[in-house]
Amino acid sequence: MIFDYPTFKIIWWLLVGVLLVGFAIMDGHDMGVGTLLPFVGRNDEERRVVINTVGPHWDGNQVWFITGGGAIFAAWPIVYATAFSGFYWAMLAVLWALFFRPVGFDYRSKIHNATWRSTWDWGLFIGGAVPPLIFGVAFGNLLQGVPFHFDDTLVPYYTGSFWGLLNPFALLAGVVSTAMITFHGAIYLAHRTEGDIQRRATTAALIFGVLMLVGFTAAGLWIANGSFGYAITSVLDTAALPNPLAKTVELQPGAWLANYDKAPLTMLVPALAYAGGLAALLLVWKGRTLAAFVASSFAIIGVIGTAGVSMFPFVMPSSTVPGASLTVWDAVSSHRTLGIMFWATVIFMPIIVAYTSWAYSVMAGKVTAAYIRENEHSAY
């Protein structure tokens, strides 16, 4: 094995982060486009233009989500088990919202009927807006700790309710997440369109970019002054076989800032959220949309990275039985599985990035009303 067990545990925390960030950047921009669709497209032709900016790519982008889920299953099986079953109705809401995307994209323009098309447009809106909102809410709850525990054979029990997830801090996190994804999608849309649509997309980018930065700041202040944060209080053996019941943990308000004290360089992560966000706002305002897209991608790395760094080594803290919290050290797969999955990721990820880039370069350029008319029967 190329790395020892503790190193692989850290690497997999980073790789899950890479996959989540990849999902947010890639699937995020077409979800943002879906969210904006009913508002920036004022008639059928404009809406077809909007949809076709992501038409050839949404399906490949969605695989970031599928692969992210699969990687969590493989690398952190008990996290996958506990989070997906605990957040049962939230996960179903994400799933059912996602149902609208494949069919919405593919079926919408196959029939010439205004009601049919506008129904699918709102379906694409739901498929674009609901998943980022719920993922943000989920992160907001993870940061506060979630009510779950295990019995001695490690069967997970979740003792909260769906409505309990919708608390004020979690809703704020949901707003940050939705604003971030819509901001990013609006920049992409401004890059791939012209005229009225581009102008409306630019306005949307400015609004949601500011909203993201304000919300992110508010969440940070809340964490600094709020009543949550967890810390491991027992001696840690990072090389031990994973057993989430072998440690003690306590609630320590403000503990989510401890990592920044311990390793000041990590402050670059939240700084990246601000730098990327501000740069993207400036660039999209100046009409430099491609550079703005790169900047908003960095903002996404910063925002998601901040949540990760603040909680490290926690992944899913338990509010009811803190000792049962799931961490990077004790919620992972075996050394062998982490090694195999490491190689699979290291080999395939660059290949995926390469052919995805090629697909974007083939379809590059502005999507226009003329393009829609020429491809009346084959465009979405």
Binding site: V63, F84, Y88, F105, K110, A344, Y355
Partner: protein, 520 residues
């Protein structure tokens, strides 16, 4: 304590959503190769009609594909949402092929499907063909990794239980990949998909020919479907038989149940063509046998025995007894993990741990286990015979009927006069649903026949579920039924609409039923 009702509803939801997903998957798997063949002919001959064929059948493929993607996400979510203990217990092994499927296959398929539909004017002919081929390769690799995961549920190789982490852990990745059950399933399943794709094109082309419309287009499509379908159905049957052999090695219980073999016969065993199984008395009330055939299929020999269900029951009863000891030792070991004597004792019996876990359905503690409960647990290891026996026979009968159809379709394609044989065209048309029925039957045999286990011999279904409320399950099941009914209506409506309109829907000006809309 997990209630039976929760387990039943979780199973029902998984079965319903998986079988629904599997309405779309086989057609995708088969159609991609039909598209590769049509487009290759286009690139080689330069004849536009083959490009139109690729695009028209591709359009129908796209309508189907959208629902395949939609319903596939459900399955990946559902291991976590509804089968949490399963996910924890086997995620170390089972999660890896799912993640690799995403990395190696699903990205490939989904990225290139976008270029397949939208890249016609931006790519050279060769480049576009390459895109189509990569999409097909991705689709089929996707099936490979999913069936490696499923094959491991049927025949859990390359792994062992760890009392420290309370789960199964990977010991040999390549054993999981080259699991003979997985490989057998993969080739059998993708071939069944190829048959589905071929039947789809054959039937719809036959309908055009019966109506005498778009004749050139339909004839060329029919011929390709006949040739591809014939090769595929031969492969399904031969490889299905190979799967039977692999089962004879790995899952004798399922084999015995689907053949209604209650008693161990002297080798080579006979094959029950028709039987009326009597579950209560564990015998057949009536049966018609063909001597020798079962022994040949199951063992490839004349002298090896295949165990009957009664013998398997007796063996499993012993394993349950040992399993009780294994569960007790595990509980002790969890309390004192350093005790070397306990560990040694546990290692001796841990292969039967799963059989002991079967009793958790009936007894909260292993101290409450009675001989009657051991009988019940051992009886539980035998799946119900009647449904397996008949679904398997429907699948096989349809397979042979399709072999005859594709054989004749190919024969008359070579002779060149198939278009003048309405009986053949009508047969092809009416057989449209048959591949779907066989695929669903095959899926049922494979998965229902694995019960009472999620991981055969390792983890009982009863222990695998999430600790949700029964009401949550009623709610989610109702949601799935509602969404899926609606989606099926929409999909069928579009499929029928475009199949009826035919290649005219491309708007090329070369076919019947052209549509031109005024531009806004």
């Amino acid at each position: 304590m997990v209630s039976e009702q929760l387990v039943d509803l979780s199973r029902l939801q998984f079965a319903a959503t998986a079988m629904y997903h599997f309405l779309f998957v086989p057609l995708t798997i088969g159609m991609v190769w039909m598209l590769v063949i049509m487009e290759s002919v286009y690139v080689m001959t330069g004849k536009t009609i083959y490009k139109d064929m690729t695009r028209f059948w591709g359009k129908l493929f796209g309508i189907n594909f959208a629902l395949g993607v939609t319903t596939g996400i459900t399955l990946e979510f559902q291991f976590g949402t509804n089968w949490a203990y399963y996910s924890h217990y086997v995620g170390d092994i089972f999660g890896a092929p799912l993640a690799i499927e995403g990395l190696m296959a699903f990205f490939l398929e989904s990225t290139f499907i976008g270029l397949f539909f939208f890249g016609w004017d931006r790519l050279s002919r060769q480049q576009h063909l390459l895109v189509t081929i990569l999409m097909a390769v991705g689709t089929n690799l996707s099936a490979l990794w999913i069936l490696i995961a499923n094959g491991w549920m049927q025949n859990p190789v390359g792994s062992e239980f760890s009392y420290e982490t309370m789960r199964m852990e990977l010991t040999d990745f390549w054993a999981v990949v080259f699991n003979p059950v997985a490989q057998g399933k993969f080739v059998h399943t993708v071939s069944a998909g190829y048959v589905t794709g071929a039947m789809f094109v054959l039937s719809i082309s036959a309908w055009y020919l019966l109506r005498g419309r778009d004749v050139e287009f339909a004839k060329r499509s029919f011929r390709i479907a006949a040739a591809f379908g014939f090769a595929s159905i031969c492969s399904v049957i031969v490889l299905g038989d190979e799967s039977g052999y692999a089962l004879g090695e790995a899952q004798q219980t399922k084999l015995a149940a689907m053949e209604a073999m209650w008693e161990t016969e002297p080798a080579p065993a006979s094959f029950n063509v028709i039987a009326v199984p009597n579950e209560a008395e564990m015998k057949n009330d009536f049966a018609i046998h063909i001597p020798w055939v079962m022994g040949l299929i199951g063992t490839r020999s004349l002298d090896k025995e295949l165990p009957g269900l009664n013998q398997i029951y007796a063996l499993n009863r012993e394993r349950v007894k040992v399993g009780v000891e294994a569960v007790k030792l595990l509980e002790a070991l969890r309390k004192s993990p350093q005790d070397a004597a306990l560990r040694e004792a546990f290692d001796r019996v841990k292969d039967d741990l799963g059989f002991g876990l079967l009793l958790k359905k009936y007894a909260a503690s292993m101290d409450d286990v009675t001989p009657e409960l051991i009988d019940r647990a051992a009886r539980d290891t035998l799946p119900k015979v009647t449904p397996l026996f008949w679904t398997f026979r429907i699948m096989v009968a349809l397979g042979f009927a399709m072999l005859a159809l594709f054989g004749l379709a190919l024969w008359y394609s070579i002779k060149g006069d198939f278009a003048q044989r309405p009986w053949l065209l009508r047969w092809a048309l009416w057989f449209l649903p048959m591949p779907w029925i066989s695929c669903e039957m095959g899926w049922f045999v494979a998965e229902y026949g694995r019960q009472p286990w999620t991981i055969y011999g390792v983890l009982p279904t009863h222990l695998s579920v999430s600790t949700l409320t029964v009401n949550s399950l009623y709610g989610s099941l109702a949601g799935f039924v509602g969404f899926y009914t609606l989606l099926l209506i929409v999909e069928m409506y579009l499929m029928v609409k475009f199949a009826r309109q035919g290649p005219g829907s491309l708007g090329t000006g070369r076919y019947l039923n052209e549509t031109h809309h005024a531009h806004a």
